[in-house]
């Protein structure tokens, strides 16, 4: 029995065929795309990382079973297209997802690609194989998968415990490439082998990453580029200066802040720049297990004191979005309607009134103009973390809270949070796909490793499962909205804002699409070419 999703996929496929032919007419072969990279990723293995510093340079090396269509900015179920799969189908009451695989695909080392590679990859992700990843940050994505089975060399099935339409979305993320069975995880960390449009050449830590064109790529005529070179420049101003000076064809994707964007445009008016939401939310993690935030009134007061517009004005010169857990509309697919959002305490437009209410709550808890509450705000020693923390501290002043910034080095951040050795933490949560399953289970379900606050609400947990199994999109949306509202009202992890960032490239660079509801999925770069 075929689901609506499968039909949509077929439709999407036909769209893809049309668009590729038009692109093919325009595209010019050749050239090396030069991009700067914001930092040196620890290794080259996408499955073992949790930062898009890995996805950007290494996604071009791989293929997924399915992928979000690379030239559509907004990721959705409708834009998922086959890649190593030729087609897919939901069978067995939506409890089995079966893929027919592409034949004749070769790994970069010449070995043929088969269904065994797919099984190997996902067995390893589920922790079922002999070989282990050093780290496996997205193991929880496959919680509902019983096992992966093969049928011959070119068919593979995911057998689920219960229907989970979102699995397809997870499989379409840039985070989910297929790894070769014959290469060990350790080798994949230093010298990745894929089936993708570009072959890995070298990775010099803190220096550069080089990729070269895969001449045997299964998609004929692709890629256009002869290669991609990433030069690692952690210092942002040096990097931007270098881009302006023509040392690079493109900036690191979604790494140009709004003030820098202005700078780029003024220095190089020909540069093409886009600003998109990147589905990264800045939020506050609250330690509700210890004083003072074990007091629900103080938690609520804090939520009420937030002036989200001010954050956005300062950080993004107005170009940011207010929302709940899910990325706000229009880029986000699952965002609450405006009226619903504004009914949540602290989201109302009248900041003054909110703060008056917050003050009352604080007074109720025993604080006032003469008795301030001293609070430590912990955050990582990175500007995107630190800057909003500074604003947060300033805003808390208005409700008798004296915040002190506690800057934590990356190495100590996670252990500190895990030890519950903090009061408030300023945190960034990036969402790999704009999908409720990914964000709810990962960040709010009881026992999830990324549920830093240990927020645990069995009621909501049930709603998580309900929306996850719902195949009717509209019904599912309603459920998602309800959950999101509840999470905000519970001050589970108050969301301050959703960021928007810029990407720039020189006008001769063509075929780049910056995605608007994820910053992890759009870097295959096989359609990118240079008009030089």
């Amino acid at each position: 029995m075929r689901s609506v999703w499968a039909l949509a996929a077929v439709a999407a496929l036909s769209v893809l065929t049309v668009s590729t032919t038009t692109l093919a007419d325009e595209g010019k072969q050749g050239g090396i795309l030069r991009i700067y990279h914001r930092d040196s990723p620890g290794n080259a293995s996408i499955h073992e990382g949790a930062t898009y510093s890995l996805n950007v340079p290494f996604m071009p090396v791989f293929n997924n079973l399915v992928i979000y269509k690379q030239d559509v900015a907004q990721n959705s179920m409708d834009t998922i297209v086959p890649e190593l799969a030729e087609s897919w189908a939901w069978v067995n009451d939506n409890k089995t997802l079966t893929f027919k695989l592409r034949q004749g695909v070769k790994w970069h080392d010449g070995k043929p690609f088969t269904s065994a590679d797919v099984k190997c990859t996902f067995d390893m992700l589920m922790g079922k194989s002999q070989q282990k990843f050093r780290q496996n940050p997205r193991k929880a994505w496959y919680n509902e998968v019983n096992d992966v089975t093969t049928n011959g060399d070119f068919e593979v099935s995911f057998n689920l415990k219960r229907p989970q339409p979102s699995l397809l979305a997870l499989l379409a993320s840039g985070y989910t490439p297929v790894y070769p069975c014959h290469v060990s995880p350790a080798e994949m960390r230093t010298h990745p082998i894929g089936t993708g449009p570009f072959k890995f050449v070298e990775f010099k830590a803190n220096e550069s990453i080089k990729l070269t064109r895969n001449p045997d790529y299964w998609r004929k005529g692709r890629p256009y580029l002869d290669g991609i070179e990433f030069t690692i420049i952690p210092n942002r101003s040096t990097a931007i200066l270098a881009f302006v000076a023509g040392k690079f064809d493109m900036t690191f994707p979604t790494e140009v802040s709004i003030p820098l964007l202005k700078d780029v445009k003024s220095q190089d008016p020909t540069a093409v720049c886009v600003v998109e939401p990147n589905n990264v939310s800045t939020n506050i993690i609250v330690n509700s297990t210890a004083a003072p935030f074990d007091n629900a009134d103080i938690r609520r007061a804090m939520a009420l004191a937030l002036d989200r517009k001010a954050f956005i004005n300062i950080m993004f010169e107005g170009q940011g979005d207010i929302g709940g857990t899910m990325e706000p509309a229009p880029a986000g697919l699952w965002a609450m309607p405006k009226e619903m959002l504004e009914s949540i305490p602290g989201y109302g437009p009248d900041v003054k009134a909110n703060r008056e209410e917050a003050k009352k709550l604080m007074q109720k808890a025993g604080y006032g103009p003469d008795k301030h509450l001293a609070v430590k705000v912990s955050t990582r020693n990175i500007p995107v973390y630190r800057d909003p923390a500074v604003i947060l501290i300033d805003q808390l002043k208005s409700i008798y809270i004296d915040g002190e910034l506690d800057v934590v080095e990356t190495a100590n951040w996670f252990p500190k949070i895990a030890r519950k050795d903090y009061m408030l933490g300023l945190n960034l949560t990036g969402n790999a796909v704009d999908d409720p399953d990914q964000s709810f289970y990962e960040n709010y379900s009881c026992g999830s490793e990324r549920n830093y606050t240990n927020y645990c609400n069995k009621e909501i947990e049930k709603l998580f499962d309900a929306q996850s199994q719902e195949t009717d999109v509209n019904k599912r949306k309603k459920l998602v909205w309800e959950i999101d509202k509840k999470l905000q009202e519970d001050v589970a992890r108050p969301i301050i804002f959703h960021a928007r960032t810029g990407t720039c490239w020189k006008p001769y660079v063509k075929g780049v699409t910056v995605m608007s509801n994820s910053s992890y999925n759009g870097y295959r770069y096989e359609d990118v070419w240079m008009d030089k």
């Binding site: 210092n235 942002r236 101003s237 931007i240 802040s257 003030p259 820098l260 202005k262 700078d263 003024s266 220095q267 517009k309 001010a310 004005n313 300062i314 010169e317 020693n381 500007p383 630190r386 800057d387 923390a389 500074v390 604003i391 501290i393 300033d394 805003q395 910034l405 506690d406 800057v407 080095e409 100590n412």
Partner: protein, 304 residues
């Protein structure tokens, strides 16, 4: 004959005497006289005075709270209201620089005093006791000096965590052997001096001799060294801040102000980068100028 006449005619003997302030024996006239002889040193002293004055009266001088965020006035250009503009948080740069003087002074004085004190104790002990203590000191100081200062400070701040006292400690530790070496060398030389021998002969205790006789005589080189180090500690803090390990936000440390995120604004909001840079350079420059003059005055060997 002509040459001599020309050369000598320019000198009015009595006027020169008067102008040189030869008769000034104390008070302001003496200070003015010294200032005229050491123009650069006087300039340095003025800069340092302004610097210290700013640090002490930061609360009075600052026109805004250095930590208050003001979204409405973010990245404002320098104007009558905000003399040095505002940063991306709308915080007044002038007020932050005024308050930053406190931090820089605290780091400079704190680490110099800490490193200096320990260095003096170690140096005196090592130079005075000789023996195994001296041997151990020499090796430890070799070790510390073979490690680049910034590397040592980097690891230290990483180990201690970024905070004002920790940064002071991290900068002070590499300072210890430098100070101790100078004091040790002086102590060794002084030990042979007759007045020390004399003190010994009348049965003064070794500690007493070290503290009462040797220490005061090493004061001049110590002061010279300390002033010279003051500037470099301020610079080290700035470098640590640049590498993200200095005094954390929101304290308005000059190094932090002009590093990292502020560097993003080097062209769109250059005042964010220029003013703190000038503040650091000027403060360090001032202490260096002053330290130079002090060395000229206090260290007779260097007198020119």
């Amino acid at each position: 004959m002509l040459v001599a006449e020309r050369r000598m005619a320019t000198i009015d003997y009595d006027l020169e005497l008067k102008r040189a302030g030869a008769n000034a024996t104390g008070g302001w006239r003496r200070v003015l006289f010294l200032a005229r002889r050491h123009v650069l040193g006087a300039a340095g002293l003025i800069i340092m005075t302004v610097f210290v004055f700013t640090a002490i009266f930061a609360n009075v001088l600052a026109r805004f709270d250095p930590l208050t965020v003001d979204a409405a006035h973010a990245l404002a250009r320098p104007s009558a209201a905000h003399w040095m503009g505002t940063d991306s948080f709308g915080r007044d740069v002038f007020s932050r620089i005024i308050h930053g003087a406190r931090i820089s002074l605290a780091v400079g004085l704190g680490s110099t005093a800490l490193g200096g004190t320990i260095g003096v104790i170690v140096g005196l002990t090592s130079g005075y006791l000789s023996g195994w203590f001296d041997l151990v000191f020499q090796r430890v100081s070799d070790i510390l000096q073979a490690l680049p200062l910034l590397v040592l400070a980097l690891v230290m701040t990483a180990a201690l965590g970024p905070s004002l006292p920790n940064v002071i400690i991290a900068i002070a530790i590499p300072l210890i052997p430098t100070v101790a070496r100078v004091i040790r060398a002086n102590t060794l030389a002084l030990r042979e001096q007759p007045f020390v021998e004399a003190a010994k002969s009348i049965g003064m205790s070794e500690v007493r001799i070290a503290v009462r006789h040797v220490l005061p005589n090493t004061l001049a080189p110590l002061i010279v060294l300390a002033t010279a180090q003051l500037g470099s500690t301020i610079l080290t803090e700035a470098s640590l801040s640049f590498l993200g390990l200095g005094i954390p936000e929101p304290y308005p440390s000059w190094g932090r102000m002009l590093s990292e995120s502020a560097a993003e604004y080097v062209r769109t909001a250059p005042w964010l980068v220029i003013f703190p840079g000038i503040a650091i350079s000027l403060a360090v420059f001032g202490t260096n100028l002053f330290g130079d003059a002090l060395r000229d005055i206090l260290d007779p060997r260097q007198r020119g």
